[in-house]
């Protein structure tokens, strides 16, 4: 079993349509560590030692967040700035995260077709996640295919929330039990509920 650390970040938790339910589902998954970053650090004063200890104690790091202005909510950026220290996460002797995996779980308000060179967002969604991907690379972590919900604001009206949450649960359990093959990200791949690979039996 892989040790799973889930970082959840949503500054408007109360107004969340999808993320709140995804978080509730994640909390019901046994054997994983769930951290609500905005609850733990409402005043942004991140405890570097505690966070580094957490990273050391886990094999897979999941970041679940809504895409805000083509990036993460600000607290995740603060977390990166402080926790991923030189000599710990990267640089000379910075090998603490080597071989661990990073899994992004993102909701985006735009529809899937918008995230393409000919869509109104002009780029694939992965383009906007490149900073995190490169962060993983510099920290010698494996970057897994992000799990995405498009058109998230419309999802409740279109009854897409429950299936997406169920898929999320399957993803977390699969990661925990190491029952996925080939989740390593290439090019502009993302996975949605429809493209979530089947679990393999051991």
């Amino acid at each position: 079993m892989a040790r799973l650390l889930l970082y959840y970040a949503h500054p408007g938790h109360r107004f969340s349509h999808v993320n709140a339910e995804m978080l509730a589902a994640a909390r019901r998954v046994e054997g994983i560590t769930v951290v609500d970053l905005y609850a733990e650090y409402p005043r942004h004063d991140i405890d570097i030692d505690r966070e580094q200890k957490r990273l050391l104690d886990h094999d897979i790091v999941v970041f679940q967040f809504p895409l805000f202005w083509y990036s993460t909510p600000s607290l995740i950026k603060e977390w990166q700035d402080l926790v991923l220290e030189h000599g710990f996460a990267y640089g000379k002797d910075g090998t603490a995260l080597e071989g661990k995996k990073m899994q992004l779980v993102v909701t985006a308000a735009g529809p899937a077709e918008a995230y393409a060179p000919d869509g109104y967002q002009n780029h694939h969604l992965r383009t906007f996640l490149r900073p995190l991907e490169q962060t993983a690379a510099l920290c010698k972590m494996e970057f897994l295919v992000p799990y995405v919900l498009y058109a998230s604001l419309r999802a409740p009206r279109e009854d897409r929330v429950a299936p997406h949450v169920a898929g999320y649960r399957r993803l977390l359990e699969g990661l925990r039990d190491d029952r996925f093959r080939g989740l390593l990200a290439a090019a502009d791949d993302v996975m949605t509920l429809d493209t979530l690979p089947a679990l393999v039996e051991h």
Binding site: T107, A109, G110
Partner: protein, 648 residues
């Protein structure tokens, strides 16, 4: 009229000349007044002034003082000190009376006289002690509080003493009835101690008790329910002096009522003060009564000085001096023992023991009362009167001894009352209690140089134990700020407890040292306005932040997400600071708030704004909190919604 003006002139000149000199020499105002009194005594004798009846008039200052003390003391605080009041006070009076009685017996006095002397000498001088403690800012110290409790108990104890003393009458003295009637006027007219009651004498015991209880109830009920409408009524006339007149009226009315039913007027007004301690007119009353109290007490001290019969004194100077010093030594010893028993420690123990070692103005009252009741022979009473006066005269000297000898011993450095400040820091911190202590610790830990000024020796000991530089002294005194290096300081943090003193310091420093950044501790909202009016622009409410944090904890406990709770709390702070800053600009220290219509109007608007915010309408902190994270609502179509914010 001319005689009155001349008399007033003599006393005023003496006071105005002597007190500043005495203060300058560090002797305190009380000794100044006493010396002034001694200086003018030949003049008064030449003019045939009745110093004794003048003294009885001036004793009304003590009544006013206890009223003011009561105003500072909320009922809860009084209740909290009941054990010490009775234990400490009772033991002091009881033990001292017994010890003095023992000495008198050894000196060959009959037991009745010995007991009377014991009772008389057990009492201390409320006037001198409270005045001096207040002047030196020591009332709030442990020793000051204990002294106050003992004095309060003594005030109460005078009542049973007045009942007891007539029972000690000696038949042989009855012959001297003529003389006694002469002396009796003192007790009868006296305003301070309980006078021989007139009307109530005719009543049965139970009726008397009923009348007494009714009088106390009248003071409490009247104080609680009548003062507000009365003051509102007075305020309609918009005349400043009417407030003063009303305040005086209240004090005098209560004194009269208490005298009427045979209780101590001082006690009655003290009670009224306690009742009014929570009233919004408290400061009004305080500032109105205070000058009268000051003048009357000054007059009282001068009459004590003037009343010393130097002929008699020099006739038996060694004997009387020995008696006086013996009395002081005896009382000090008993007080030291009690201080040990009640765990009054350090310099406070000496403050308590030396401060209360004199006999008091009650002594004058009881002496003339005893003579009138044929308890004491007049010749002996005259000698005892000298002992009382002399011991009061020596009290300021004992206070000086406390400051010069006891305080340095416990603060660890043999320096004067106010230390020579040899270190100048960038930041001066006035007051090192819980509040100023935090500021000092933060600045020190960040490597800034601070100079701490505090008059609480316990605080100082603590600071010095941690190796900080700290100096003893009253931070509200300009010369001490000067000594602390205010000219070269970048910043002054005013962290003392006393509201008016904070304002005072702020006003002084803002005016004289505009380059100094002043951070001031505000006790409440109104104090914020006062400080703003005094020129301070960095005002921190002492309890605001902890209150906000408690509110935030409550939000979290009620299930709000911690980040939302934090944003709500920050929104509340912004809103409240905005409101208080706006109201501070409308506040006018000269106009009471309820008459400041611009202020009231705006305050109402702001209150409505805040309520609207609480109910969820936009405009204030609630709206601002939510604005950031509400997902866009698709009124203008989906594309708009998706572009505005790209998450859920």
């Amino acid at each position: 009229m001319d005689g009155f003006l001349l008399l007033a002139f003599i006393f005023l000149v003496a006071g105005v000349a002597a007190v500043p000199i005495a203060s300058r020499l560090g002797l305190g105002s009380v000794l100044g007044y006493l010396i002034a009194g001694i200086a003018i005594s030949p003049l008064l004798a030449a003019l045939h002034v009745d110093v004794i009846s003048l003294q009885h008039f001036a004793e009304f200052g003590v009544v006013m003082m206890l009223f003011l003390v009561g105003l500072e003391l909320e009922p809860r605080m009084l209740w909290a000190m009941k054990a010490k009041l009775l234990g400490l006070g009772g033991l002091q009076v009881g033990l001292t009376a017994l010890a003095v009685m023992g000495v008198a017996l050894m000196l060959g006095q009959p037991w009745t006289i010995a007991l009377a002397i014991g009772l008389i000498f057990a009492l201390s001088s409320t006037a001198i002690v409270l005045q001096t403690l207040g002047e030196k800012g020591l009332l709030k110290s442990d020793g000051g509080q204990s002294s106050f409790q003992v004095l309060l108990f003594q005030d109460i104890a005078v009542i049973p003493m007045l009942a007891l003393i007539p029972l000690l009458a000696i038949p042989e003295l009855m012959d001297a009835a003529g003389h006694a009637a002469d002396a009796a006027h003192g007790a009868g007219e006296d305003a301070h101690g309980p006078a021989a009651p007139g009307f109530v004498d005719a009543l049965e015991g139970w009726q008397r008790a009923l009348v007494t209880v009714a009088a106390i109830a009248a003071v409490i009920v009247g104080g609680s329910y009548l003062t507000r409408p009365v003051f509102r009524f007075i305020a309609m006339a918009k005349l400043r002096e009417l407030f003063t007149a009303t305040a005086l009226l209240i004090v005098i009315a209560i004194a009269l009522l208490m005298t009427f039913v045979g209780l101590s007027p001082a006690l009655g007004t003290f009670l009224a003060g306690v009742v009014l301690a929570n009233s919004e007119y408290r400061h009004e009353l305080e500032s109105d009564i205070d000058p009268f109290k000051g003048l009357l007490l000054g007059l009282f001290f001068m009459t004590v000085g003037a009343g010393i019969d130097f002929g008699l004194l020099f006739g038996n100077i060694l004997g009387i001096l020995a008696l006086t010093l013996g009395l002081i030594a005896l009382k000090t010893a008993i007080l030291l023992g009690l201080a040990y028993l009640f765990r009054i420690e350090g310099a406070d123990r000496w403050l308590f023991a030396l401060g209360l070692a004199q006999a008091g103005e009650f002594g004058f009252v009881l002496l003339s009362f005893s003579v009138a009741n044929e308890v004491l022979p007049p010749a002996l009473a005259d000698q005892l009167l000298l002992v009382v006066a002399l011991s009061m005269l020596l009290t300021p000297v004992l206070f000086i001894a406390y400051e010069r000898l006891a305080v340095p011993r416990y603060t660890g450095e043999a320096e004067r009352e106010a230390d020579e400040i040899d270190e100048e820091g960038e930041v001066i911190i006035a007051g090192h209690g819980r509040w100023g202590g935090i500021v000092n610790r933060m600045l020190r830990s960040a490597g800034y140089k601070t100079v701490v000024v505090d008059y609480n020796s316990a605080h100082l000991e603590m600071i010095r134990a941690f190796g900080f530089k700290a100096f003893y002294g009253d931070a509200s005194r300009p010369d001490l700020l000067h000594a602390a290096g205010i000219e070269k300081a970048k910043m002054l943090v005013v962290a003392i407890d006393e509201k008016d003193q904070i304002t005072e310091i702020v006003r002084y420093v803002v005016q004289h040292y505009p380059h100094v950044h002043v951070i001031a501790r505000a006790k409440d909202r109104n104090h914020v306005y006062e400080l703003y009016a005094a020129g301070c622009r960095d005002i921190i409410r002492e309890l605001f932040d902890s209150g906000v944090r408690a509110g935030r904890s409550a939000f979290e406990a009620l299930g709000l997400h911690p980040f939302e709770a934090d944003r709500m709390a920050r929104g509340f702070v912004r809103q409240d600071q905005h409101a208080i800053a706006e109201l501070a600009r409308l506040y006018d220290p000269e106009t009471p708030i309820h008459r400041n219509s611009a202020y009231v109007e705006r305050a109402k608007e702001l209150m409505e704004e805040q309520e609207a915010a609480m109910r969820g309408s936009a405009g204030a902190f609630g709206g601002r909190v939510e604005r950031g994270w509400v997902p866009p609502v698709g009124r203008e179509g989906e594309a708009e919604e998706e572009r505005a914010r790209s998450g859920s």
